[in-house]
């Protein structure tokens, strides 16, 4: 019978966490953005394999990039904590987690701009410089978009828009933020670690 397919007596109404279309839509966008970075790194490795030995003008340094990686990972941790607090209905911890994550993201961007300034090459020196600045530039743009999302859900938290059930925008911003951090680890591994492993 027709009723057989509708077994539940009640259904939740509206935008509910991972049931919301928005969360699934964000996963689709993440697939696409993930591909974008895969193609950026493909281009890096293509150059590195084609030119070999002397393609990299200077072995990468970790003074700024190392701590900056830790800062970005830490921001993910705070955002995760904020999202979990939202799920438990702790409004204050939720807002705190989001705003700390946001500030750590901004600090990452500031340090990254110093890292850019310290490079002895520019985007127009050789293909290595082009690849480095365009790849990290795309990533910084994604961090900025993620930070804008965190700022929005932080502001909406202050307005009291969310509770235990109604918190889909926080989950959506958080999963995007974790994705941006994961992408950084791939970029960090490619640009900073593989030269020491003998690639390029």
């Amino acid at each position: 019978m027709a009723d057989a397919a509708i077994r539940r007596p009640k259904l939740p109404v509206g935008s509910i966490g991972h049931k919301s279309f928005g969360w699934w839509g964000m996963m689709a966008i993440i697939m696409s953005e993930g591909s974008l970075f895969a193609y950026l790194l493909f281009s890096y490795y293509y150059f590195a394999v084609q030119y070999g030995g002397d393609w990299i003008p200077e072995m990468p340094k970790f003074e700024l990039a190392g701590p900056n990686t830790a800062i970005l990972l830490l921001s993910s941790l705070f955002v995760w904590w904020g999202e979990r607090s939202a799920a438990r209905g702790h409004g204050a911890k939720q807002a705190l987690g989001l705003v700390i994550g946001l500030w750590l993201g901004i600090i990452f961007l500031v340090i990254q701009s110093y890292e850019w300034r310290d490079k002895p090459f520019t985007y127009s020196s050789t293909s290595y410089g082009s690849s480095y600045f365009v790849t990290t530039g795309f990533h910084m743009a994604h961090v900025a978009v993620g930070a804008a999302m965190l700022a929005a859900v932080f502001f909406w938290s202050l307005l009291g828009y969310f509770d235990k059930e109604r918190r889909a925008p926080i989950s959506i911003a958080a999963i995007y933020w974790h994705f941006v951090d994961l992408v950084w680890l791939m970029i960090f591994f490619t640009f900073y670690v593989t030269p020491y492993l003998g690639v390029g």
């Binding site: 509708i6 109404v13 279309f21 839509g25 293509y46 127009s124 410089g129 109604r166």
Partner: protein
Amino acid sequence: MAITNYDRPLDLEYVRPQPTAERDLARIWEREPGLWGWLSTVDHKEYGKRYIATAFLFLLVGGVEALVMRLQLAGPDKRMLTPEQYDQLFSMHGLTMIFFYAQPVLTGFSAFLLPLILGARDLAFPRLNAFSYWNYLLSGLFIYAGFAMGYGANDGWFNYVPYALKQYNPGPNMDFYALGMILFGVSSTAAAANFVVTFLRARAPGMSINRIPVLAWGTTTASFGILFSVPAVSLAFFMLWTDRQFDTHFFNWAGRGQPLLWQHLFWIFAHPWVYIVVLPAMGIVSDALPIFCRRPLVGYTVVVLGTVATMVMGFGVWLHHMFATGIPYLALSFFSAASFVITVPSAVAVFAWIATIWTGRPVLSTAFLFFAGFVVTFVIGGVSGVMTAAAPSDRQLTDTYFVVAHIHYVLIGINVLAVMGGLYTWLPKMTGRLLDERIGRWNFWTVFIGFNLAFLPMHWTGLAGMPRRIYTYPEGLGWSAVNLITTIGAFILAVGVLLLLINIAVSRKRGFPAGSNPWGGATLEWSIPSPPPPYDFEVVPVVASRHPLWEEELAEAGGESSVKRGLRLDNGKEMLATTALDAEPDAIVKAPEDSIAPFVAALAATMFCAGALVLSWIVSAIGFGLLVMSLLVWLWPRRELGQIAEARGG
């Protein structure tokens, strides 16, 4: 009961014989009148029709470009066009047909039909759908604005470097193309994400993964392809633009760039794109052909698996476009083998269609003729594809008219013929009027004969050694007669396309009223009136088999589907979210109301790119600010959508 209560008990209701004033679905879902309503509507049916109409406009423009080229090539030593004009014409023709006709027309079918065949009231993201349409239209106008000013793309649709770089191509032609394609990529990605989520999460209860119509499978598979492949070409065009404007060195040999990197990135995108512009068309045929054969599709499961397998393998064959570039023999062998293997899942679909015709009782309607013609040209295009998949023969055939013949058999054969058949099938659902069958026969035969007359001899032109993309050719090489035949065929094909447009125009006034199910179709869209009401389904249907409207004849279902009784969901704009595999009801979702924000966002994104084109950062900054503002308006949590916390017990 407040509309944003957290939970709601479920009651099944019957379709009502008379509309009632109380909670009238039509009033809840219909758009505002006037220009404002036209710009701000988010109805998927509206955008489906706009997509198809816009794509046909681009088809006509691209077609006229082709006819002008055919006049030039009709005989030897013609000088009607200068080489530069000819370059722009073949480039604009290719990119128009491939990007602005072939995929958007299928997006139009999907935007209109996907919710209807899945039993939903709209796509998962109605506003995103509006945005992707406007962005598509504006990106097309962006590239054509360049052409109108004399700066059309002039390096072929695949736009190889180094000729696309600034030192060889100093005008803004390439910048129009590059930035326009980035805009277009945003549009197609948005549409793809929308289709994927709708497919996974917005099906009628009971429409488990093995009961979904093949058209929805084709659309979704192609949408996954778009999500994974479009970033490659957007990135390639971005790199090209920075190489041209900011002296980066991605493709420029002097700065330790790699010209071949362009070809890799382009074909990593463009080969999957070939499947993206045919898989939904194959879905159209797999769903519509059985209606005219009066039996279910033979081999549903293998056809679906073949669809998915084709897309997956489609990502592993891009190098066969680069056989002549001097890549290592190991890579040649691998990609050649992969290109042979990919013919297997496509052949599965061909045999399934033939078996469906063979074992069915075909009704020789115009739509059936188009689908049968589609199968024939698919086989011819497939065989010439196998010939180019073999690396040794490809060395001989590459950059000749043989490849041009192949791509036209694939794109016209598998896209245009399926689209025309699809229009004869579903246009009555869109407009409520049937197309004329007598004009339809003339339409089919002129298209089919004109097409084959134009492109079958072109294989021979290629084998005789005529290279593609030459603006004229001398006498005495044996190419003259065959080129004249191709030109005549192209004009007959054009007459056929005009007949379709005449048929559509005539049917709007004089067409026979279609009724809800003119062809006796099996799927949910045939259970509602033509044209569908603004809310599509008065009650959410419940599905118990693959052919909800054929259950009595087939006796195939354990239960029975219900299209007359179900959830009415009339507490504002509402639709049902269901689980991804079993399609069990999961939540009642509030659909967004009309908004101008998607239109403004698309305008703002175009303004951003226009600023980048002329390197005017103020224009770009204003566009960017407008974009951020419209996104905030668009996405701000709304109480009526159940996005904001409520006091409990309200």
